[in-house]
Symmetry: D2
Subunit: 133 residues, 4 copies
Amino acid sequence: MIYKRKVNFYETDAQGIVHHSNYPRYFEEARGYYLEKIGHPYEKIREKFNIDIVLVELSIQYKRPLFFGDTFEIEFDIVQMDRFTFTFKYTVKNKNKIIALGETRHVCLNRKSRNVVSIPDILKIKYKKDVQT
Amino acid sequence: MIYKRKVNFYETDAQGIVHHSNYPRYFEEARGYYLEKIGHPYEKIREKFNIDIVLVELSIQYKRPLFFGDTFEIEFDIVQMDRFTFTFKYTVKNKNKIIALGETRHVCLNRKSRNVVSIPDILKIKYKKDVQT
Amino acid sequence: MIYKRKVNFYETDAQGIVHHSNYPRYFEEARGYYLEKIGHPYEKIREKFNIDIVLVELSIQYKRPLFFGDTFEIEFDIVQMDRFTFTFKYTVKNKNKIIALGETRHVCLNRKSRNVVSIPDILKIKYKKDVQT
Amino acid sequence: MIYKRKVNFYETDAQGIVHHSNYPRYFEEARGYYLEKIGHPYEKIREKFNIDIVLVELSIQYKRPLFFGDTFEIEFDIVQMDRFTFTFKYTVKNKNKIIALGETRHVCLNRKSRNVVSIPDILKIKYKKDVQT
């Protein structure tokens, strides 16, 4: 899937580039876009299954900077899923140049107990379909 | 009261100065510091009275920029309080130069109903004592 | 002009609503959108005229909260302009309910000297045309 | 080295916990604290050597959440340094419980050319001394 986005001025820092702490936020936006595109926006999933999706691992390799005014693309997808965890991979690109590579791993928690619960079937079904094609 | 703070690099923007959206955050830190100093940290107040303190009005005049590496002071105090609202005023200074002037007005909400409730007495008592001295 | 936007999860706080410090950022996005729509994106203006547009005054009245999943609209326009300053007014709406009212005043600085310079004609021309119609 | 910090309310999200994108910012604060403690604050290094220290790799494992009101500690140090790169490792703790583990790798860039330059000797000397003891 591809998520496109323009850099906001408030995301830059005194080096004149996008501050590295914004990339996890861009990835979160991409995941939100993903859930929306497959017809299950995160805000609906949260309510329906009474879960929070939390991030348990994050890694990013920064290759080139993003500047104010840049429009970048995030190519991303789910690359792993089992009963309790799933992993997204991201490639941030600007005009076909690789800006950054990222990976995030997630689990679902019950919103009251904060205990890990199994991933809702609607996410698993989508993932299986993707892998089979 | 005075709250002292160093500028973080991630708070700067591509103009090389602290981005204006950080000042409301600095003011929030100052208010947290205030509640702590008077012996009623916000996290305790939230639980004890089941309230959220919300901001209903904000105004800031930006006089001079803050740069990375600057240590600034916020001189601030409660300047108004009635049954339902209270107002903080802030003067941000760096080496005796005025950086910014700010004002925030607040109400307390019941955390469940989100209805406005009267300000806890512990805040009112502190305010009255200050005004009388 | 109208700028439309979805709330990002990372913009919410532990009250479950959009943190107030994001509104100045939303306004900045709206201004960026404005400059783009009139054919003079901020990144181009910055380079061409060697200026930074800085914010000197900000005021916001918060009427209702925004929640994660909300899509809001900002109705906004330039309401004042003289040789050195200009003012934007904003109305943040969610499904026709007013969320917040805002106002920001700006000046242009030479990027090297950080001195105030007069507003580029391209902005003035646009403003005059708007006022006359 | 240990860097201590209180959670700010604006760092929490609608899950009621510190949003994951703040951890890279906490690590940056810790690095700033480190440079200050060894007598070479980042703002001085930037000017003196005309360099920016940029982050090229980031990884974080999130073990437990941080809540508003928590005071956490970051135990951290430089664990690798060669001519061009150095690596910090971080353990975020709250009351002796591990909250998160992190690692960041950095290079120095010439601020004009944005080319990689060798790490200033003052950082190398400090590192060698640490390793030898």
